[in-house]
Amino acid sequence: MDERERINRLRWRCTRRAMLEMDLLLGEFLERIFPTLGPAQAEAFIVLADMEDLELWPLINGSRECADPVQAEVVALLRDVRVK
């Protein structure tokens, strides 16, 4: 799979989610922040994007702990996203 295909698949999984909140947050993140991530963080984001919304939301709102430090970094970035 080439880079365009990889990003497009990720875009679909970020913007066709179960909850509107998550479409907005992950979509915005993918456009603005994802391109600035290093490889480890990018991998961590892909894992997060593959989670279901009700697994991911508790991580973002802090009611559940992240599995590893890199994931925690990415979740912190997600938490800082502001959707205009």
Partner: protein
């Protein structure tokens, strides 16, 4: 591409949609031994049903006395008497059975101390024909929809249902006699276009709330089932009826719960005025949803909206003690910061009335069979869930009746398919030679378009037009202008251009194809709304006010009927509301007041 190059896969039945209704139907079919394919744009448990928190209604009577007949009365009244009473009786009678069944599928309902399903009160649920509130909503904490989808999905895995995930159905296949023979679909991962040839096709594609600029619906709700049905010549029923929530975050659409006003939140206009004092001197900001929504729209229309485009009002809680906000409304503060960029402790939240639920859809009977305007079933075609119009929600849906609708009509549509296949009423008919021509022409047009319109801009234009011209409060001139505008937008939709022409994971193509569906829903909604010259349920017109002759602006003499919109010529016809229930007496027309 020519027809012969399209691969054809044969199934007994194909279901488009893997939300609550599609999964419930799939259980019937797979357990009934039919070879069944379920197509979904996303992994099943990512369907929008997950977003439902409130619960599912059933007169189990676990907490206090309840009866399906009382539930039926509430639903008829909620529908503003536009719901069909045979379908409503069927749904309310079936409710306890399908909810208990769901429990047996493994649904983790909240429980009472004795271990029964716990039931909570919900707006509009009453005992003894509207007398006093009753506890009828069954929930699994605040994740009812999520838990329900998981229970249904697991049951399907057990039954060996075959899923086609990240496939988008593009069009319905119909033959000359009008019989439905399956769908044509696109696999996103390969870009391949395939025909699913089936004896029976069930649509369970969910709602179309993305026709509005401000919507609580996730991006996936682009009304694909409605678009496909309309293009195949199926009329859409009662599309003017959309339920709105007064306080969605302006722009984002994310819901701000009623609880914020309950805790003392105040709505203000651009003059910083607490305008609800003028509209509802007693209840003020706590007036009912429709009153608040209408007041907000009036303020915006009269130039007292806020922001550069004067298109929202403000929900102010800055006067509340920050400790109260943190304690009582913690989620709301996060939502406001993330989706409005505003800390509500310091500044008010921009809000607008926001589209929430589609009452209309593909006309069906209570067996989940799609019906022609004369009531005769369309051979081989079935629908359930938000895409369908049975019609149990009529002009206004009662809270928690939607999840119930998914279970009841998901199941009944599945049972109808089994019956029709077993009796030989539907068999594999030959595909007509030109069955894929129109779809392939549409794809080809998109691939070769030059100098065309931008998909994103055109969709935004459509959404803004719907919001402005056909929102929660409707005005004659605005509707007339809106119809003209949507016709213009349709021309732009017919000329969309995408830069990416590749096959694999071409999301630009998929979004353009979704827009082809949104435009059908938008036209159906605007044209149907412009024509209905009364107020009823969620369709409220400024020129059909509350009068002694027509309380709430409802005009039964002329408008107690279902709208049917046909894509061909964008024409309208009407059919009577079914007032005769299956076994009980008619619930006679009455003014709807709470």
């Amino acid at each position: 591409m020519s027809n012969s190059s399209i691969p054809v896969r044969k199934f007994d039945a194909v279901i488009v949609g893997a939300g609550g209704s599609g999964l419930r139907a799939a259980i019937q079919l797979s357990e009934g031994g039919l070879k069944t394919a379920v197509l979904s744009k996303v992994f099943p448990t990512r369907s929008h049903t997950v977003a439902a928190q409130g619960g599912v209604s059933a007169s189990l009577g676990n907490s206090e006395e309840d009866h399906w007949h009382w539930h039926m009365y509430d639903t008829v009244k909620g529908s503003d008497w536009l719901g069909d009473q045979d379908a409503i009786e069927y749904m309310c009678r079936k409710a306890p059975e399908v909810v208990v069944e769901l429990e047996h599928f493994g649904m983790p309902f909240d429980r009472t101390d004795e271990g029964k399903i716990y039931q909570r009160p919900f707006g509009g649920h009453m005992s003894n024909f509207g007398e006093k509130p009753v506890r009828r909503a069954c929930a699994a904490a605040d994740r009812t929809g999520h838990a329900m989808l998981h229970a249904l999905y697991q049951r399907n895995v057990r039954a060996n249902t075959q899923f086609f995930v990240e496939w988008m159905a593009l069009d319905l296949i119909r033959d000359e006699s009008g019989q439905v023979l399956g769908v044509i679909a696109l696999e996103m991962e390969t870009g391949e276009v395939v025909a699913f040839h089936a004896k029976a096709t069930i649509f369970a594609t969910g709602g179309a709330g993305r026709i509005y600029y401000s919507s609580t619906n996730a991006f996936i709700n682009t009304g694909d089932g409605l678009g496909m049905a309309a293009r195949a010549g199926i009329a859409l029923e009662d599309m003017e009826f959309w339920q709105f929530h007064p306080t969605g975050v302006a722009g984002a659409g994310v819901l701000i719960t009623e609880g914020v006003r309950g805790e003392g939140g105040i709505l203000r206009n651009s003059d910083n005025e607490r305008f609800m004092e003028r509209y509802a001197p007693n209840a003020k900001d706590l007036a009912s949803r429709d009153v608040v929504s209408r007041a907000m729209v009036t303020e915006i229309n009269e130039g007292r909206g806020c922001g550069p485009n004067k298109d929202f009002v403000l929900l102010d809680i800055t006067h509340l003690d920050p400790a109260t906000i943190m304690k009582r409304l913690p989620g709301i503060r996060e939502i406001s910061i993330q989706f409005a960029g505003i800390d509500p402790i310091q500044a008010p939240i921009p809000v607008v009335p926001t589209c929430h639920y589609q009452m209309g859809g593909i006309p069906t009977n209570f067996k989940g069979q799609v019906v022609a305007p004369d009531g005769a079933p369309v051979k081989g075609f079935y629908a359930a869930g938000e895409v369908a119009c049975a019609s149990v929600h009529g002009a206004n849906r009662l809270g928690t009746n939607s999840l119930l609708d998914l279970l009841v009509f998901g199941k009944s549509s599945g049972d109808s398919v089994i019956e029709d296949v077993a009796s030989g009423a539907v068999v594999h008919q030959d595909l007509p030679a030109d069955f894929a021509d129109r779809t392939l022409a549409r794809l080809n047009r998109l691939n070769t378009q030059t100098g065309g319109s931008n998909v994103n801009e055109t969709r935004l234009e459509l959404q803004r037009t719907m919001q402005k011209h056909c929102g929660v409060f409707r005005f004659k001139e605005m509707l007339v202008e809106g119809v003209a505008k949507i016709v213009e937008i349709e021309k732009a939709v017919a000329r969309t251009e995408i830069k990416d022409k590749s096959q694999v994971w071409n999301t630009a193509r998929v979004e353009a194809l979704e827009l082809d569906n949104l435009i059908e829903v938008a036209k159906a909604t605007l044209v149907s709304a412009e024509a209905r010259k009364e107020s009823r349920g969620a369709h409220v017109r400024d020129d059909a006010p509350d009068t002694p002759e027509n309380p709430n602006g409802r005009d039964d003499a002329n408008w107690h009927k279902h709208t049917l919109w046909q894509r061909e010529g964008s024409s309208l016809s009407y059919k009577p509301v079914t007032m005769t229930p299956l076994t009980v007496e008619t619930i006679a027309l009455k003014t709807r007041s709470y």
